[in-house]
Symmetry: C2
Subunit: 419 residues, 2 copies
């Protein structure tokens, strides 16, 4: 099918959700998960074809992301099953009141309609996104990277088989067959067809979507996350938090990229930091963290001299930019200039400093004495996640099922007119 | 100042809101309203210059919209004072819960940041928008039409005088001095500076913003609103509602443009409709409504034969497109194809038909037995309105103060790390 045909059929299909109950959606999710496992052989076959074609053209990290195993397919199916347990986000009465002239006004949550997701090569995004859209009553249009096309297509085929088995339209879940730039561009500009576009992937993809989309689009992902260690911080806890935020999983968007240290404790703190992130990691056979240090920090511990670009870079690697600041005010100013408004933390025992930080820093998630790594739909109790919004419109931070809904007003009267 | 300089200073100014209390904002609103009245002479002088320059280049309707009087200035000042009474939308705790590992998570409402409003020539938009932005903690950048520039500038000067008189930064309210297309374009593309762009005006302006904006933008306004008269409708009430929705104020977006009539009652209903909207209005010396009728309707009453374009037009005039439909299903299908998703009504005594209609029609406001003219922030109990959103992201329908906020997550711990 052409992308235009898919857009037309997705738009048609969305009316079907008006008469699908929460039970039917859960039945469909169960059938989709089962079908994924039943079709595992076919999915693995297609995945091998993708892997062979991709070899030599993409990095090993990307190959690993792309590769499926029976275990990973089971994980994807279980991911779909997890969504069954979550509360239905549609049909919630958000407010109800009597307005002018005795009219009854209800504000009720409804699906967005058609959600398009442009992503890269992780096959689990295909099943996760489809499951979240189905549960929230949205028709999805998936447009994955060309390296993973055969895999994604076979995953979608399995899920559509699941939909058919419970009597639902397979057009509720769609995948774009054209994997050239043209189809991405077409989705970005499909006004009247796409109600929300969500890019999931690297900074380049997200920028392309935000700059070219004429349909509503949510900016996700990029995280230049900072942690500020205040003069009153509990230093052993601070070391533990920074170690976690930087090294537990450096390739993700909620990992720490910048460390701001109060000048009063820098001389006492930085040597311990280097010991933990560099020396101890080497001793344990782990990759050490490269410390990119401002001039003042370089006078205390050895490391790489930081250049200004280092404070504007999402390293996604074992690299940490370190800067000594005068106080919480300077930390807040630094963050205002360099942050991507994802997640930032203050480590302090001074509640005034914590208040100042959480009030003045304009990011989606602010932490007091905890790791930035908690910014995640599952950790926040949303049960799942469609991505992490770094903008302020509609949804901010982790997007769960409720963030995939809109609302409508229903006003019931008995002949009222406006005077 | 250049538009770039205004963007820079607006971005700087937004941090000031972090330490302004609700009381200070209300004090500022009172001072802004007083200053508007104190500066009335100067505003009227500038308004006369605008009017003289505009004469002959714009329609009489536009000249009337542009014209200020002492009474209208008092009305604008009272409009600002009304905002004082509304609850502060910032700092509301939207959710609070304990998440993983004993972390406390709060979701707190915060301002969006910098809100840019591109509008046409109504001077009251200048003061309304500034007041709503101030109350919601947003720095505003106003960019009005060139016909009203002198007036808007003098209104902004007065409001800034009010801000200074209570010790606040005048940069909280900004007006763009360049009234060429270049400045509108610059606002639409000011990524990193403008957190929300709201176009207020005609369909052309809104389309230009939605298509060219790379900053988050909310589509407002256009309303092709339909009313469906079901076979079970109370016909005298239906006449009253249609008369109100079509003729009370035909130039506004929530006025009715399309009437759908169930075929079972068409022969009984349409003659009375023509009597009320055409004959009686002529007898009373009012402009009659031009009925643009589908073929079946033309067989019942005289009128203009409708062409297909009539069902896709926002007339904003004494014109009504009329179509006979088989049942509520056909009415819903017609609306799906032609509506701008603003407001639609069903007139019926059959609750199943009403349910079917409100469930299946995908518009911001749905009415059962009431006029579409109620879609309005004031009528909905929001106290005010920044525009009516016809899209589904962030805000739908009337946008009040809450719709001018975003939220942040504040997570407080005691050294928690992610495992």
């Amino acid at each position: 099918m052409t992308t235009k045909e898919i857009l037309l059929s997705a738009k048609e299909a969305k009316t079907a959700f008006a008469s699908i109950t929460a039970e039917q959606k859960n039945e469909a999710l169960a059938a989709m998960a089962d079908a994924l496992e039943q079709e595992a052989e076919e999915i693995l076959t297609q995945n091998r074809l993708d892997l062979e074609a991709a070899k030599g053209t993409v990095s090993d990290v990307m190959l690993d992301r792309l590769m499926l195993t029976m275990d990973r397919i089971r994980g994807m199916a279980d991911g779909i099953r997890d969504v069954i347990q979550l509360p239905d986000p549609v049909g919630r009465i958000l407010t109800e009141r009597t307005i002018t002239d005795g009219l009854n006004l209800k504000k009720v949550s409804v699906p967005l309609g058609v959600v398009a997701i442009i992503y890269e090569s992780r096959p689990n995004v295909t099943s996760d996104a489809a499951a979240l859209c189905l549960k929230s009553g949205n028709v999805c249009i998936l447009r994955g990277g060309k390296e993973a096309y055969r895999t994604s297509k076979s995953v979608v085929n399995a899920m559509r088989k699941g939909l058919r088995s419970v009597g639902l339209l397979e057009e509720l879940i769609n995948i774009v067959d054209d994997t050239t730039r043209a189809s991405a561009q077409e989705l970005m500009q499909a006004r009247g067809y796409v109600d929300l576009l969500i890019p999931r992937g690297g900074a380049g993809l997200i920028r392309a979507c935000v700059e070219n989309a004429t349909v509503p689009c949510i900016e996700t992902g990029t995280g230049i996350c900072s942690i500020y260690v205040d003069s009153s911080a509990d230093l052993p806890k601070a070391l533990k938090i920074i170690n976690n935020a930087k090294t537990q999983r450096p390739s993700v968007c909620n990992a720490e990229e910048t460390l701001l240290v109060n000048e009063q404790i820098a001389a006492a703190f930085l040597p311990d930091l280097k010991q933990l992130l560099v020396d101890q990691r080497i001793a344990e056979g782990n990759p050490p963290v490269e410390l990119r240090l401002c001039e003042k920090a370089l006078a205390i511990i050895p490391g790489t001299p930081a250049v200004s670009q280092d404070f504007d870079t999402e390293f996604l690697d074992y690299i940490l930019a370190v800067k000594i600041v005068k106080d919480v005010r300077e930390a807040v100013e630094h963050i205002a200039r360099h942050s991507t408004h994802h997640s930032e933390a203050i480590l302090t025992q001074d509640m005034n400093a914590a208040d100042y930080f959480t009030t003045h820093v304009d990011s989606a998630a602010l932490y007091v004495n905890a790791s930035t790594r908690f910014t995640d739909g599952g950790m926040f109790g949303l049960g799942c996640e469609m991505g992490i919004s770094t903008q302020k419109l509609h949804a901010r931070g982790p997007m769960g099922l409720e963030e995939l809904t809109s609302y409508k007003y229903i006003v019931t009267g008995d002949g009222q007119i406006r005077s």
